[in-house]
């Protein structure tokens, strides 16, 4: 009698423990982690977009060419802010690609603008320019770090929902779908690649 009740208690405890091992907790935890990391990525992209107005002041001393690039950058910024990937869209590969394309377009524009400033010694020594350059570099670096952290969280989440035993809970209880990692569109990726056999 007594043995029976104790064994029953053990069954209940074992059942709850094995349920916990089936991904009841680990799957949502991994998903929330990935979503949090995505929020970091978005925050860093926003930080870069917020830097753009500072460029207007710097460009004032430059020629028409730079004014044109700045207009392009501002337009790219408007497009990039229009594409919004929320935490619920993280499984949507198309939307993610669209977002990445818009962001990299803006990044390329800013890069082009900074490169063309090299012809202006007066701008190069301008305090606003130096501050902008370091902020832009820092933001690009933070974006790279945030994206890497996000991709790592996605990798862990996707591994969790596909491997035993978490995959049981992931499929039966949560109906978990894999998330899409962020793939940065490299500058000029849409242009035809040049044949270059001399690899470094």
């Amino acid at each position: 009698m007594n043995f029976k009740s104790i064994s029953r208690a053990f069954v209940v405890a074992a059942a709850s423990l094995s349920l916990a091992a089936c991904g009841i907790n680990s799957v949502p935890a991994a998903e929330e982690e990935a979503k949090a990391k995505w929020a970091d990525v978005e925050a860093q992209f926003q930080r870069r977009a917020n830097l753009i107005p500072n460029l207007a002041e710097i460009v004032q001393g430059a020629a028409e060419n730079e004014q044109t690039i700045l207009r392009e950058v501002t337009e790219a910024r408007a497009r990039a802010t229009a594409v919004n990937v929320t935490a619920n869209d993280l499984g949507d590969g198309e939307k993610m690609a669209e977002f990445a394309a818009a962001q990299s377009q803006m990044s390329a524009g800013i890069g082009r603008l900074l490169a063309s400033f090299e012809a202006y010694p007066n701008i190069q020594s301008n305090q606003n320019y130096l501050a902008f350059q370091s902020q832009f570099e820092g933001t690009e670096n933070r974006i790279a770090v945030a994206i890497r952290d996000y991709n790592e969280a996605v990798r862990q989440y996707n591994t969790t929902i596909r491997t035993f035993p978490d995959t049981i809970g992931a499929n039966i209880i949560h109906g978990a779908e894999p998330l899409v990692p962020y793939t940065a569109v490299t500058e000029g990726a849409e242009a035809a690649p040049q044949l270059d056999m001399t690899s470094n």
């Binding site: 009698m1 007594n2 029976k4 009740s5 104790i6 029953r8 208690a9 209940v12 405890a13 709850s16 970091d40 130096l130 501050a131 350059q133 370091s134 902020q135 570099e137 820092g138 933001t139 670096n141 933070r142 790279a144 770090v145 945030a146 790592e152 990798r155 591994t159 491997t163 035993f164």
Partner: protein
Amino acid sequence: MSRVALLFLALAALLAAPLAAQPEFPELTGRVVDNAEIISPEVEAQLTTQLEELESQSQRQLVVVTLPSLQDYEIADYGYQLGREWRLGDVERNDGALLIVAPNEREVRIEVGYGLEGQLTDAYASTIIRNEIVPYFRNGDMEGGIVAGTTAIANHLALPEAEAIRLVTQTSKEANVGSGDGWLVWLLILAPFAFVILVIILASKGGSGGTRYSGSTSSGTSVSTYSSSSSSSWSSGSSFSSSSFSGGGGSFGGGGASGSW
């Protein structure tokens, strides 16, 4: 059996994959880690004292590190990973910082923890590198640049003294509240388990007509084993105080600035 072994191998490979992509990090031997051997012992001692004073005054951890090689990584890429590896700064405030010098690549970087990004901004870190450090390095005076850079960063980090004192008192209060909350959370988590087990045992006892007292004692022992195992795992996570210098658990997100000469 071989299939199980294969599964384990595959899991091990998955776990090992991100580790293989990481650079190698030097050991955190002190507040000055001079692996490129460009700092004399006297200057190293002087810097160590300066950095100790900074931590005792502002609780912020600044470490000077010189590297013989960046292992083909960009200094910004290497820097934040080194900061995370060493876990500089407080776990809550993330207020660690690094001054990294790679003399062979002619690169220098100030790596700033999450929590200090607002105070030691990218633009300010860049100014320190440009105005304080690089002029010395250009003249071949590595020590001079490192001392000037460290002083500039330390002075800046030590600035808001009132704020630092407020933070110290605030965190000590939080630590007390935190430990109390930890027990409360565990109690809340375990209470339903204990209750369910108790109810099941009592119900089975009642149905089979056994004595109530023996039933409640068996449930009592199962509850106590639960709480003791959970409390031990909880307390092991919070023991990280040691006499030698080590990071406090802070993290880095790529803030700071780089320069070359």
